[in-house]
Each structure stands twice: as structure tokens, then as C-alpha cells.
Symmetry: D2
Subunit: 396 residues, 4 copies
């Protein structure tokens, strides 16, 4: 029965019943008017969540990684230069992808736990007077470290340098849970997926593309077919897909967007801030620290927590699963063995978070961590009680 | 999203996914061999859970209350005398039903919080030398007070008095969560339902009938048709129902029984003892007390908890629901306003129970109860850690 | 995969996906405001479907048979006289129930295939100058014979005789598929269920009760508790049920009513008339005849079809199931072996009906019935083509 | 309610309830042992369906088109020569993809309705004495024309020429419905998807790769990351995916394979042959002809049917949908307006096919096609009756 326990991996997230039901549609002709009628509102609703009025939404049957590949192959050509900072597993993987696609990647190495270094971006961009850099790639929310970066600051760095590069942002684990302002921040391509803030199963990459990025498509010579923006946008104009669409996910997105708008995006963000606050209060009570270096970097969707010296975070995560049937995120990459992660995004309540904190406390105590069992829960309870009035959607 | 929080009412219980799927069958001809093929193992499996080899299982599309009515109308005649002890809301309701059906009900009034008084039953039965008492009715688990009674002791009282009355037991909120021994305890009719230990939706009364009770059916003149054992048993013999059967619940029961047997009934019972132990540890840590008068009476499926003098348990339950989106049981009858209830039966994990304890603690603290927030959770954590190794099914 | 074939038993009916999803709700506290909020619109919507403004709706966790029992036990006393005509299996069963509950049943025997005999009712009622008859019981749609009776004519007979008896109508297999006018026809108690026109799973008896019938409740001394109208109506007034409610069915009903009203009740009825017309065209093309004696009696929800002399309808139904995986209704009672039944009620399309006709034709041909394979389908196609424009909801 | 009608598009196919339930799993940690435990049997079962013992199975969250892209990008380098015959829409699209990825495509143009021209392949391969051709690409089942090609003959042509090119086969709309022998036919890469013979929703490309193809991977320089075989196979070795896996589809595949093996692959193929035979009998009775040029090319999963001169197949398909709520395939590419398609693959019964034939007949009659309504159904009925005994799984 441990499948009744919520999961605390940082995605895929706990799927609410309403969305499970919405995805249970029987096969329907995807060339019928009914499908076209479902697709249009989904794309319109996504624009609202991305915070864009001028961008186009492209939906691929793929995971978020496919969205990354779409972003680079549609706008860049072999040998093009891109600028990326590496400060976690997901920025690392995007860099790897760029290299494998023959791009020249200028990497700014940063400590894990830090965020996108706007100042060093500024430096690099100002130095690039020839505008060789075609794109700046940023991971908005580093799922591996629980760090949220300041995209507006990166945009300011680009504008300050008068640099025309495209700004591409991975917002897979932030979108629909934390504020995102594609137009406001001047983002050219934003990549997300169905299985995090949208609370659906994995299977759809959701990409928002600015008019400027669309202009780059024709000249871009990296080969692509499956992920070609043009095929997609052309097919959408006729109410369809260039190949078989993920019907169940389209209908799921339609309902997911309804849920988000019914709660209100501002309330959704506030709920995540409140839930994350409880987790951080617990971490503090345990006397542990986050991987994220400073409060301005704390992610509201995932907390990566350093285990004390001499402890192995993998053993902790394994023990919690084996003994109490609950899943937490392991430490990835550099953080492997050194940190564990609590995902607190998507469809989640304070009660659910408390069960996660209670279980990881038990697991830590079982493994002789120097923490006081119950202390984290009590701290989180105090936070949730103090903030209970601030959000209405909880009991809706 | 509060529909993701577990419920802590003492039934209907949280339905595990596996059983929700099992109940999703499309309409099938209930006169086809396939239906007969599903019905037989369900009846056989139920016998195992009731602990009977000689009894017959009768399944009505009804709630447990319908099962009570079946028990009395199939075996008794207007004016017949029955002996019942009243020590909670459900024993009270069964008494009320008997009176409305024209039975002469000898009531042994007991304080709420006590259990079936074997000694007073013995007294009454010994005094009934003319054997006017046709049936003794006992509520195995008083859902209103969280009291489990000793059925074997009642049987001993009957045997001690050499009394031939039928022994009828309401085990709606105990069966499949706590041990039940129909044959061992000499129970003649045992009444349960689909929505508690069987973890299904409401809609099926499950009645086990001993050979002795079946013998009483022909002579019994209380009118019944819908709940007539004979129509049911006759139809089962032909693989069907006398009227439209609750198909989805039959298939759900088939899967529920598989889950119970895969976990092992002994393990199921041990799991409930362990979960209840955590709740009781929390109650103790809060400095509160159970309605149940003594440890031997403590139910492993529901705890009724007295609120301190001057507090209103209804306000507490309402606050927990309104503020934290979690449902607990109110105090029923005499206990209304004076106690709240935590249901801990069915498909439940320690992690889920901890979320319930954490929430009710927050609610109590919000309403200025004299408790230390976190104390109950910490006590339950200690209990769950200490007993984690004793049950294997948890993480299955 | 034959579970993908529609069923053509006359209920339970094929459950549309929308309703299957609606019934998949997780357990929710039935004492919470949310449940009360769901119950009220269901009762209001049912009134509309029954065609009553003054009646009260009572919902029992039971099959339709439980609704019959509620009707008689709430309004009659042992020894009371009721008047019933027997012209099929379901009128027969209701008679049996009345007898088992100690009522004095005056039976008007009619040939199977005929309907409620208003003239003979008139005769009997006029002869009953002492008004001993307390209730007239009529089966609106005899599922066993495919006969729909004229309830308005029965009412006229009662009014013509100035008789004050209650008029009780079984509309289990007609309501929500054929017109029903409780107030217009002066019906006092109408009994239906969830698994026919409402397209849900079995498990809820739906009873509509007129003010006049409610007045009879206090004086009625037939024992009842589970099916007591007073407990139900009292509990509804507080937003709940007197015992555990069938939550999933309440939510299912809410959605079922939405579907019916979205299509429009008049369109629902017209759809059933159209579908039935195709079946009747097929029967005619096969050279067979209906059990129903004349066109005014033809039911739009079920057709009972006589097999030719020398053929066994049970063998036909068994062959269709064994060879082609499709379920039809057997002949019941007097019609056993002599007729088979095609249910065409609930959520059904012309395409689905055509598959049923095609299969039963194959089965008949396999068993050497003197019919031309394809003839029935062709006749039904002609009917559906000719009437395709008359209903819009089909492709909705 | 037209969503209850089966669809007759040639995929995605009608999803049986059993698989819909199997895909309803809640989010689970894909890094847990439970996921690894599900993945391994899925890959093993797929090998059996592809008919390979030495091949590796790679599963991408993508549609079948993504599988094509994986096939070419993992084994070829820019400028490489491939040999393809164009005889329908899907062979055309694969050609287009190759060209967009910078391959040199030698196209053998064939009439639509013909199959893979083994003789012309032989010719081209023999002429390629320098072995410039690196791969031969063949569409096993042309969904646009209803043509099944002889892959063994293509292999023979390659072997006859002693040519070392890789043989890549698109079996998206044939696998798990028609026989496929990867090892027997010497196929190096076979590409399929979840939404056809596997009866699941769209979302997973299923690719089988021979040892020889795997050897080509390291030298291949077409860029790929999302679709890289190496990342996948490396992650599988550790029980996981290189990125978020489509959990629900993995569990769905597990159940799909169970269904296929329970029915028996030979029986599955025989069922499709039988179902297709009925469709072809109907086409013949209508006096129409298939696009497929000769019986040896007839596909058992989809029939493309030429409409008579002067008629517009798009109008027919639209009319069937608008008037009778049933979806058929339109004519694609060259066949647009000139043919319509009936998909008869996946989870389908004869009864379902008959409903499709009955509806398209009605639609043709409505549009004054020179056909006799009922004739096609009658012909199919005759076929299904004559072959009913040959397959057992039907009623299972």
C-alpha cells in the first residue's frame, strides 16, 4: 500500500485524481474537429503560464530532454557557439547535449549550489564583441541542487552587453509552480514538461518560442525532423499534429490548465512558497543545511539537503524507501551521497509534506543522524500554522 | 487538492489504486458464466476472512445497516426477544432497528467507552430459563467509542448459561482489519460491509450465516424480500443473484481478497495494531485520553479521543477540515462535542497516519488546546521506528 | 476482448466513459459540506427526470428491488389490499414481494405481452366501494416482454372510480429513456435504479414519493428501517444520509443528470425511439414477431422477440455469447426458451445497435433459423438513414 | 455518446479496458527497484514480439516518427547513402526525414498500392558494387495504402547482391498484429510504437536493434542525444532511463504483452486475418476495390478502399463522422479524396468491425454511392460465420 504514500522525488509529481481521470480518454480520431478543439485552448493556456503573449507554444510527445533538443536544433547550426554556466546536473546535461550536437560550448564553471552567474555572463557577453555567441542557455531551477536562478538578471546582462544572442531557459521543474515571465524576462525559448508543475504523467515536452527564435529557424542547419518547430506549427494551423499526437496528455493539459487557473497562478506560486517554507524550517530545525548557497537561491519546488559529514545520502534514501515505503530524491552528480532531495512541487498539501518530513526524520534517526526526531515536523507545523490563512486554495 | 490527503474518518476508508482499478469494469452480463466465475471465489474468500468453514456468505447491494436488517428479519419473528448491550452509537442504532421491527429488546445499558459486558450477559441469560431470548446482538467494534469487545467472552457467557440463542455480531468496522473467528467464537450471524477493512466503496453488505442461523430462517416471520437469505442462496446455487448484482463491487471484492491474502491476514492485523499503537502513543503524548476505558478495549481500527473540558470537538474537526483539508470523525451521540475520532483502518501506512497526527495537532494548537505541537508526531514516530521491522508488507 | 462489445441485456447498460470517470472519486468524508453540496443537485435533477415538482426523491444504496420494498413498506400495513396486474416477470416479482410482506394482493392475470389493463383496473376499483384497495401497483415497462404500459390510462381508471388508492409505478427500465410524468399521471411512488437509463453501475434505488404517499408513511406499520423514507428525508435535511451513502453513485448521478440535460430529455427519448425503430425494422425483416402484442405497447428500451416454433431462445443467446462474445437477454419466466431480448436503452448509438443486430443474425443463421442474414441489418440501416437527421445528439 | 463507437482509423487503436486500467498507475519513483523490475520484462517481451533473440529493445518517450529518427541518427552519418522505395505516405515521410538529415536518398518510385519492389532493390544493390548504400529502408505495412510488403524478399535481394547495408523496417502499423520475424528476415532496425498493435495510447516508440546495427552506432556522426541508443542501453543496464521515463506506458506495455501472450501471437495474427477477411468481403460485395494492387499485398491491419470515380472520399469520411459519429481514415497523399481507410488492428472483434461496415455503408448510401446497403455487412457476416470456429480468443 505504499503506493498511497505521496512521492517526494522532484518530479514526476503526484498526479491528482482529477487529472488522472482527464487522461483516461479512449482513443479518438486525432484528425477530427474535436481534437482541434482541444488543442487550441491548451496552447492558449500554456502561453498564460509561460507569461508570454507573443510566443508560440509547441508540444512534443517527449520528455523535457526532447524539449532541450528541439530548442537547440531548431535555432542553431553545427559549430555555433553557445554560452552556458554549469552549476548542477541539469545544466551539465544540457551542455553535454550541445557538445554532442557539434556546438561550441563556452562553459562557465560554477560551484554546485550557486545559480546562474549574471555578472560572469555579462563579462563573457561583453567580451564577445563579434557576437559569436548565438545563444545563452540557463537552467531556471536546478533540480539537482534546489537552486532557482534569476533569469531577469541574465537578461539584464545580455541587454547591458547589447548582445543579440538568444536566451534559452530550462524551466522544466519550475514552470507552473514558481513565477515565470517569458516576455518580461526576454526569454526566447523556454522548455518545460508535463510531469512537474502541470501534475500530469511524463510524455509531453512543452516549449515556448519567441518570434525572434522563430526567425532563427530557417537559417538553423542542425538536422531535426521529429522536433522541427515548422512541422508542428504548420500542422497546428490545420488543427492537428504532423504525426500521432499524445491525445491523453493534450486532454490532461486542458484539465491541468483549468485547475491552475481555478486556483489562480498567484495562489499556486504562494502555495509552493508556503510548502517550501515548511521544508526549510524543518531543515533548519535538524541543524542541516541546503545545497543552495543563499536564501535568494532557494527553490520553492525542490530542496536539496546536505547530509552531515560521514553519512551517505544514498543509504538514507534507500532506507526511507525500504522501511517506510516513501521515495525521496537522491543526490545527483557531485552531490551523490552527499545530499538528498525533497521535491515539493505540483499537487501537494501541507499534510502531505508533513508526512514526508516525518518519514525522512524517522529514517535519519534510524541511521543515527544527529537530529532530534519530531523537530523538523514541529518546525514545519509552526510554519504552516502561521501561514495557513494566507492561502485559500488548500481546502478547495 | 485536499482530495489527495488521506481521510481519517473510521470508514469508508482510503481506497487503494489497485481496488479502484478493479472496480472500473464495464457492464457485463450478470447472467453469463463469467459472473458466476467471479462470485464463487469471492464467497469462498470471505469465509476465510470471517474465520468460518461452515457458514454461508450472503452479499447484498446495501450498506452495513442493510446487513443488520437481514440478520434480524431472516431469523426472528415479531415479538421475539433479543438481548443487546448499549455502549455506543452503533449498538444504539441496532437496538432502534430491532424495536422498529417489533422485537422485544432487553437492553443492558453500559457506559460509553465500555465493551460488551460478558458478565451481565451471563446474568441475563441464566435468568432466562424459559429461553425467551432468541438472539444476543453484539457490536464487535464500536466505531463511536473506539472499543473492541471480547466476542469469545460473550460466547462463553452463553455457553455457561446453556442458552440456545443466536449470537449476532456487527463486525462492520473490524472485519479484515482485526482478527475475527466466527467458528471459533460460535458466531451465528456476522455482518460487515465493503467500505471498511475491504477498502472498497460503500455498497455491499457482507453477511456470514451459520448453519444454526440458517435453520432459523424458515420459521422466522419478519417480512423480508430484498434481504431474504433464501432467495440469495438459491440464486448463488445457479451462479447468479435474485436481482441485479453490484457487479463492480463483486470484482472489487475479488481483488480486495487477493490483496488481503497476499499481505497475509496475520500481517494485516499486525499492521493495524502497529498503526493504532502510533496513534495511541500520540494521544498519550498530548496528555489526552481515549474514550475506551481500558487497554484491553482499545480498537485497532478507530480511536475516539476525549477533548479537554471546555473544548468542543466539533469545532476541532471542522477547523481541521476547513484549514488543512483533512477529515476526521466527529464524536457521535453522547460523545458529540466531547470526542473526536481518528480512523486508522483499511489501506493505510505509517506515513499517512503521521500526516493525520500532524494535522490534528496543528488544529488543536490553533484552537489553544493544552498540547505541545509535534509531541504526538514524535511519540508516534518513536513507536513506528521501534516496530518498523515487525511488518514486511509495508513497503510491498 | 469481447468486453469491448456492447451488451444488449436490458440493463445494466453500457456505462459511458464520462460516467465511469465520474464514479472514480476517492473516499471523501460524507459528513463534510462537499457531500451535502453534491446531494442536493442530484435530488433536484431527479425530480426533473421523474417529471415531478411536488415529489420528494429518496436514494437508497440498493438495487431497484429495494426500491419496490421501500414503496410498500413505507406506505402499507400488514393485511392491506393492493391491486396488481401480472403480465410479465417483473410484475410477477413485485406481486411475490407483496405477498411475502403479508399484503392481500388482488391479481389481475393478463397474457404476457399485454400491458396494464386500464379497463380491468377500472372494473376492480369501481367494485371496491369500501376502498379496501390501498394501492395500485403497475410496471411501466415490463422488461421481460418489452411492453410499455399506459400509466395515464391507469390514473384515469382510478380517477373514474373516484378511488383514493395510491398509484405505485415501477419505472426501473423506462425512466430517463422514455417519457415519464409523475405529476401529470398522478403517480404516488415511482421506483427506478441507477443502472438503466441513468447509465451507471448498479447500486442505487431511486424513489420518487408524492406528498400523498408521504402522508401515508406514519400510519404504515410494515416494519422497515433500512428503507425508511423518514430517516432518509430527515438526514437529507441535514445534508447527509442516515447511514453510509454510496458516494461514488451520488457523484455518478450528478454527472449522469448533466449528460441527460445536456442532450435534452426530449432528445434522449427521441434517440431511444429511433434506436428501437431500427431493432423493430430488423425483427420485421427477419419475419419474426415481438412478444409485445401491439405497436402501442412496444417499448423503446427493450424488445422481446419470439423465436420460431421449434427453436430454443436460450440456445441462441448462449451461442451468441460463446461464439461472438456478445450478451443478449434470455427469455424470462413464461418466455424462457421462447423469446430473446435486445436491450436498447441507456448510452447507445445506432452503430452499436447495428453490431448487435449483425451478431444475433449470425447466431440465428448458425442455428438454422429461417432468416436471411443481413436482412435485419439492412432494414435497420434504412431506418437509421431515414431518421438520421432527426436527432442531433448522436455525434455530440 | 459517439465516444462509445469504436474508431476505425488505422491507429491509434481502441484501447481495451484492461490496458486503460494498467496505465492508470500513480507516479512512482522511476529510480526505485520497482521500476527496474517492470522494465526488464517489457524489453524481454518485446523481443518475442519482434521475433528476435539477439536484438536489443530501446524504448523512447516519442511517437513512431521518433523511432525512425533514432534508427537513422544512430547508425548513419551526414552524406551517407540510403536506398528507399516510395509507395505511400509513410515511406514518403521517412524519405523526407532522411533528406532533412542530410542523407543521400536513392528513391525507387513505385505506384501507390504496390509494395516494396524486391527486384528493383536487387538491381540497385547489385549496381552498388562500392557499397555506398549504407542502409535500405522499408515500410513493412504502408498505412496509407493498406499494403504489406515482403520483407524476407528484400532481405533475399540484399543477400543475393552480397550487400552489407543495414536493413531498417518501419513496422509501426504491423507489429503485434501481423507476423514479424526480425531475426528470420535479417532486419537490423525495426521501428514500432505503442498505439497500434500494442493497443496503448500514443507516446512510446519501440525500436529493436540488431547487433550489427549496434556496431554502427559509434561511427555514426548524425547528431542525437534524446534518441541516442547508447544512453538508453547504458541506463537500462542500471535499471533506469537516461531521462524521465513514460512510466504509465511501461506498465501498460507490461500488461499489453501479457494480453498478447495469453491470446497467443499466432492467434492474434489469425484474428487479424479473419477480421480483415470480413472487410475485404464487404469491399468486394460493394463492387469497390482496394488500393492494394494484389491479394499478396493486402494488409491485415488496414484496408484502403478506392471510392468510385466522381466521388470524394473526404466527404464520405466527414459524413460518417458528422452523421453517425464514427471515425474512418481519410485518403492520404496521392489517395486524398480518392480512397478511405478502415483500420482493423489492435483490440477489435468481429462485432465491432460489423458496426463499422454498417456505418460506412449507410454513409455511402446517403451520398448516393452505387452500392447496395447491407451487402457489405452480409458478406462480412458470411465470412465471420464461416471462420468463427477458427479462433478461440474471441470470446475470451
Amino acid at each position: 500500500m505504499s503506493d498511497q504514500n505521496p512521492v517526494f522525488i522532484p518530479g514526476p509529481t503526484n498526479i491528482p485524481d482529477r487529472l488522472r481521470r482527464a487522461m483516461q480518454v479512449q482513443t479518438m480520431d486525432h484528425r477530427s474537429p474535436a481534437f482541434a478543439g482541444a488543442l487550441a485552448p491548451v496552447r492558449a493556456g500554456c502561453k498564460r503560464v509561460f507569461g508570454t503573449e507573443t510566443g508560440e507554444i509547441v508540444l512534443f510527445p517527449a520528455s523535457g530532454t526532447g524539449g532541450w533538443e528541439a530548442a537547440i536544433t531548431n535555432t542553431l547550426s553545427p559549430g555555433d557557439t553557445v554560452l552556458v554556466a554549469r552549476y548542477g546536473m541539469f545544466s551539465h546535461r544540457w551542455i553535454d547535449m550541445c557538445q554532442r550536437h557539434g556546438l561550441d560550448v563556452r562553459i562557465i564553471e560554477c560551484p554546485w549550489g550557486s545559480g546562474a552567474p549574471a555578472d560572469r555572463f555579462a563579462e563573457a557577453l561583453q567580451a564577445d564583441s563579434g557576437h559569436e555567441i548565438k545563444a545563452v542557455l540557463v537552467t531556471h531551477n536546478e533540480t539537482a541542487t534546489g537552486v532557482r536562478s534569476d533569469i531577469a538578471a541574465v537578461r539584464a546582462a545580455m541587454d547591458g552587453a547589447g548582445h543579440p544572442a538568444l536566451l534559452m531557459v530550462d524551466c522544466v521543474s519550475s514552470l507552473a509552480s514558481m513565477p515565470f515571465e517569458m516576455d518580461g524576462w526576454g526569454v526566447d525559448i523556454a522548455v518545460s514538461g508535463s510531469q512537474k508543475g502541470f501534475m500530469l504523467m511524463t510524455g509531453m515536452a512543452i516549449v515556448a518560442v519567441s518570434p525572434k527564435a522563430l526567425e532563427a529557424v530557417e537559417a538553423a542547419t542542425l538536422p531535426r525532423t521529429y522536433f522541427d518547430f515548422r512541422d508542428m506549427l504548420g500542422a497546428y494551423a490545420n488543427g492537428g499534429f504532423p504525426y500521432t499526437p499524445p491525445l491523453q496528455l493534450i486532454f490532461g493539459m486542458d484539465e491541468s490548465l483549468k485547475m491552475l487557473f481555478e486556483e489562480g497562478l498567484e495562489n499556486v506560486y504562494a502555495r509552493h512558497t508556503r510548502l517550501a517554507g515548511g521544508v526549510r524550517a524543518a531543515v533548519n530545525a535538524w541543524g542541516l543545511r541546503l545545497v543552495a548557497q543563499s536564501p535568494d537561491l532557494y527553490s520553492d519546488t525542490v530542496s536539496a539537503i546536505c547530509v552531515p559529514e560521514g553519512f551517505d545520502s544514498n543509504a538514507l534514501v534507500n532506507h526511507a524507501f525500504a522501511t517506510y515505503g516513501m521515495s525521496f530524491g537522491t543526490g545527483l552528480g557531485e552531490m551523490n551521497g552527499r545530499a538528498f532531495r525533497i521535491g515539493h512541487l505540483g499537487s501537494l498539501t501541507d499534510a502531505m509534506v508533513l508526512s514526508g518530513l516525518a518519514v525522512i526524520e524517522m529514517a535519519m534517526a534510524d541511521l543515527d543522524y544527529p537530529i532530534t526526531p519530531g523537530s523538523g515536523v514541529a518546525a514545519a507545523q509552526a510554519h504552516y500554522r502561521a501561514t495557513a490563512g494566507t492561502q485559500r486554495a488548500q481546502a478547495a
